[in-house]
């Protein structure tokens, strides 16, 4: 109710998400923190109190982006201090005053917005410079140095000087409305001023001594050629502000302030300021640097020559900038090639001071964008791979499932207290979560990975999944188990295929019944799993099959065997284990409740009987585990003995084993051994 009073005060201006308690609050933050402008946080709450929420926010790094105003009724100063330490921006006291609440909320929002904007501006600038310099300088140094060994350094000098002059100019006048970004752009663009020289004949370009009139005419074309090169760029690049600036510089860096320059004869401020500055820088550096045709001229003399108008006509304001800062200019250029390093250094300093002031740069928009990108990528790939991905945190105990996974399993994406979650239990099975917990607890920080297979219910159908987990540990010593990342891959189809293969290996090809080895395994397993059952084993073989084979051929004999198998399957329950033991011998293992005699009699008679013109007849020996003990070998030998006894007494009948037969011989020579005699 206190919450709804607050909501009522703010809902006109803001969109509000309410949380019942601390845990719900953390869940909402986990999902929406990027979109949350402000948290109003109560201290006393069920499940997780306000300080718990603050700690979670700190742990996740949300406090840097999401300001928190704490609601305090009576908090002592120790509590207040602790709250500030945990990153709380402000407090609202109870009872609520509508005006104060609205004001506090707005102030905090404005403050955060301003800080964010400033940070992103500073960063944007750093990034812009970095991007431009690394890209442009590299291209140019390569091209121009390739053509002319001297110009590489020239470009650096012009650039340094251009930046320097522009800064001095901004200091002097607001006439050209130059932002820091403009200055950076012009300085970088200055490196392009001579790109047109690439089309000038190398003989003219590097000619020692004075150029002839014709040669000079050719030389002069480099300004327009450079501009044309930039203009020939793709539209998208052509419209880039840096390219526009570079275009101005290339085309007009040989214009004169008095209008007597080339190629267009522009005068005064019709010449873009970028070109004016670069022209001056160009001339100054040409004078003070060695060239193939001249020795370097000392700084003072160069400045004097420029002022006297011997090397062109310049904007008087720029000339002032040059003379007034002569000393610093010399110093700046002496730094020469190290300017770039210095620049990077200064950028690092800016970065570090931002980091110091705000805790870290992780709050920046750029990082957010990267994070967003990662999130999108993760979402995309996890949807593509059709895997159920999940994260588990120990404290607060929480399972987070990927969107695709949650939909696949029909679960919520966020499951607090997974150990007690009924829906999760239905999906994983009763032992599912305890099993997973046990697996996780068995890992160590050195060996955090674990794989196992388990059934998970998808769309009401239990399917086999391979579960892969990596546990996460804290940096404490000793490390504490902190949670896990994991995924579950549906391997049901593969699993089924394997099961089918296994099935094939355990079947007799002709009759489709189990083969003896498989039957033996199952019988043993059954008696182990359910030792309380009453079990019996029957062994029977076909009478006179050899006669049938002789008379009707082997194919007919096979038909008889298949028919017997069919009759056998029809007369027993699915849970009974029927098998073709080899040749014309069959085996049946069954569990009985009351009257085994009746059951055996029924089965025996359903096996016998005419098959076409042929009359199928079998002889059978039966042994009960009750008599022999629940041991496969003994049970088998007993049934075998009974069969032998039945045969001796004249075939076509069944005998139950009793102890009086103990010393009788076996009917089947070595049926259970390696050397089996086929087709008896």
């Amino acid at each position: 109710m206190n919450r709804s009073i607050l909501a009522d005060m703010l809902e006109e201006e803001y969109e509000i998400l309410e949380a019942e308690d601390g845990e719900e609050g953390v869940n909402i933050l986990r999902e929406h923190w990027k979109d949350i402008a402000l948290v109003l946080l109560d201290v006393v709450m069920p499940r997780m109190d306000g300080f718990g929420v603050l700690e979670a926010m700190n742990r996740e790094g949300w406090t840097e982006d999401v300001p928190v105003i704490m609601i305090s009724a009576e908090s002592g100063s120790a509590q207040v201090a602790r709250a500030y330490d945990l990153g709380v921006s402000d407090f609202i006291a109870r009872p609520f005053d509508a005006v104060i609440v609205r004001r506090r909320v707005m102030n905090t929002l404005l403050l955060y917005a301003k800080q964010k904007r400033l940070m992103s501006m500073v960063e944007e600038q750093i990034r812009e410079t970095e991007r431009h310099s690394s890209l442009m300088i590299e291209i140019l140094s390569h091209i121009v140095e390739f053509r002319n060994g001297e110009s590489g350094l020239h470009i650096l000098h012009v650039r340094t000087l251009t930046e320097f002059l522009l800064r001095a100019l901004v200091h002097k006048t607001n006439r050209y409305k130059l932002s820091d970004q403009d200055i950076s752009r012009i300085s970088v663009g200055s490196a392009l001023h001579d790109i047109g020289k690439i089309v000038i004949d190398e003989k003219i370009l590097n000619k020692p001594g004075k150029l002839t009139a014709e040669e000079f005419t050719v030389m002069k074309t480099h300004a327009m050629k450079g501009a044309e090169m930039l203009d020939a760029l793709e539209e998208q690049q052509r419209d880039d502000p840096l390219v526009r600036t570079a275009y101005e510089i290339c085309r007009w860096h040989h214009e004169r302030y008095d209008g007597r320059g080339y190629p267009d004869g522009l005068a005064g401020d019709d010449i873009p300021i970028a070109a004016q500055v670069v022209a001056l820088a160009d001339v100054y550096d040409a004078l003070t640097s060695p060239r193939v045709y001249k020795e370097p001229i000392p700084h003072e003399k160069a400045v004097q020559m420029i002022l006297e108008g011997k090397c062109g006509a310049f904007n008087p304001l720029l000339l002032q900038c040059l003379t007034e800062n002569a000393g610093s200019i010399r110093q700046e250029l002496a730094g020469g090639a190290s300017t770039d390093a210095a620049r990077r250094e200064s950028q690092n300093i800016v970065k570090q001071s931002i980091q110091a002031a705000t805790g870290s740069l992780s709050a920046s928009d750029r990082t957010l964008r990267l994070l967003d990108y990662e999130r999108m990528k993760h979402g995309f790939f996890s949807a593509m791979t059709q895997e159920i991905q999940f994260e588990y945190t120990v404290s607060p105990s929480m399972l987070v499932i990927s969107a695709w996974g949650a939909e696949r399993l029909g679960l919520d994406e966020f499951i607090p207290a997974p150990a007690d979650d009924e829906k999760l239990r239905a999906v994983l099975g009763d032992d599912g979560w305890p099993e997973m917990s046990a697996h996780m607890r068995r890992t160590t920080p050195e060996h955090p990975d674990i794989h196992y297979e388990s059934q998970i219910v998808c769309g009401g159908e239990p399917r086999w999944h391979r579960i892969m987990l990596r546990t996460i540990w804290t940096a404490d010593s000793p490390p504490r188990f902190d949670g896990a990342l994991g995924k579950a891959v549906d391997i049901h189809d593969t699993h089924e295929k394997l099961a089918a293969l296994e099935n094939r290996a355990s079947r007799d090809a002709m009759t489709g019944l189990l083969n003896r080895a498989a039957a033996k395994e199952r019988i043993k397993l059954r008696m182990e799993e359910r030792p309380e059952g009453n079990y019996a084993l029957a062994i029977f073989d076909l009478d006179f099959l050899k006669t049938a084979n002789d008379r009707y051929g082997h194919q007919f004999g096979d038909q008889v065997l298949k028919e017997v198998a069919r009759r056998l399957v029809h007369s027993v329950r699915r849970s009974d284990i029927a098998c073709r033991a080899g040749g014309d011998e069959f085996m049946l293992f069954l569990e009985y409740n009351t009257d085994l005699g009746k059951t055996v009699d029924r089965i025996f008679h359903s096996l016998c009987g005419p098959f076409g013109e042929y009359n199928i007849s079998v002889t059978m020996g039966v042994a009960r585990a009750e008599v022999t003990g629940r041991d496969y070998e003994r049970l088998f030998r007993a049934a075998d003995t009974a069969l032998y006894a039945a045969k001796r007494s004249g075939k076509g009948k069944y005998f139950f084993y009793d102890r009086s037969m103990r010393d009788t011989l076996s009917a089947l020579s070595d049926i259970d051994g390696e050397t089996e005699e086929q087709g008896k």
Partner: protein
């Protein structure tokens, strides 16, 4: 019965709440909502069951609501009870609970009377 008279009947400070919430509509909305808030029932139940932490939170909530709505009398007694339950039950708690119950009955009674007389 006006809202002001209702406040009088429950020993509450109407001027205070009007000064803060600045809207009669808002006050009425929340005063009426007060009857639906389950914190009082939760308090009584958890006291009976000896769930002291739960009782503390419920009492704290009542106290907060009272502060916000200017229910001075119930606010005071629930404040005392909250303190008596903070970090464990003190001997005074049972007596203070009785006071809270009495003040709550009075407060809720006044609100119901207001509701009835205004046909709400």
């Amino acid at each position: 019965m006006t809202m002001q008279e209702c406040y009088q009947a429950m020993g509450a400070d109407y001027e205070d709440v009007l000064g803060r919430l600045r809207s009669e509509r808002l006050i009425q909305k929340f005063v009426l909502k007060f009857l639906d808030d389950g914190s009082y029932e939760l308090l009584c139940r958890s006291m009976e069951e000896g769930q002291i932490e739960e009782a503390f939170r419920a009492s704290h909530t009542i106290k907060g609501v009272c502060q916000n709505l200017g229910f001075t009398r119930l606010g005071q007694s629930s404040h005392d009870l909250t303190e008596a339950l903070r970090g464990g039950k003190s001997p005074a708690a049972d007596g203070l609970l009785e006071q809270v119950k009495e003040d709550y009955r009075q407060t809720a009674g006044a609100i119901r009377a207001f509701k009835q007389s205004n046909g709400l």
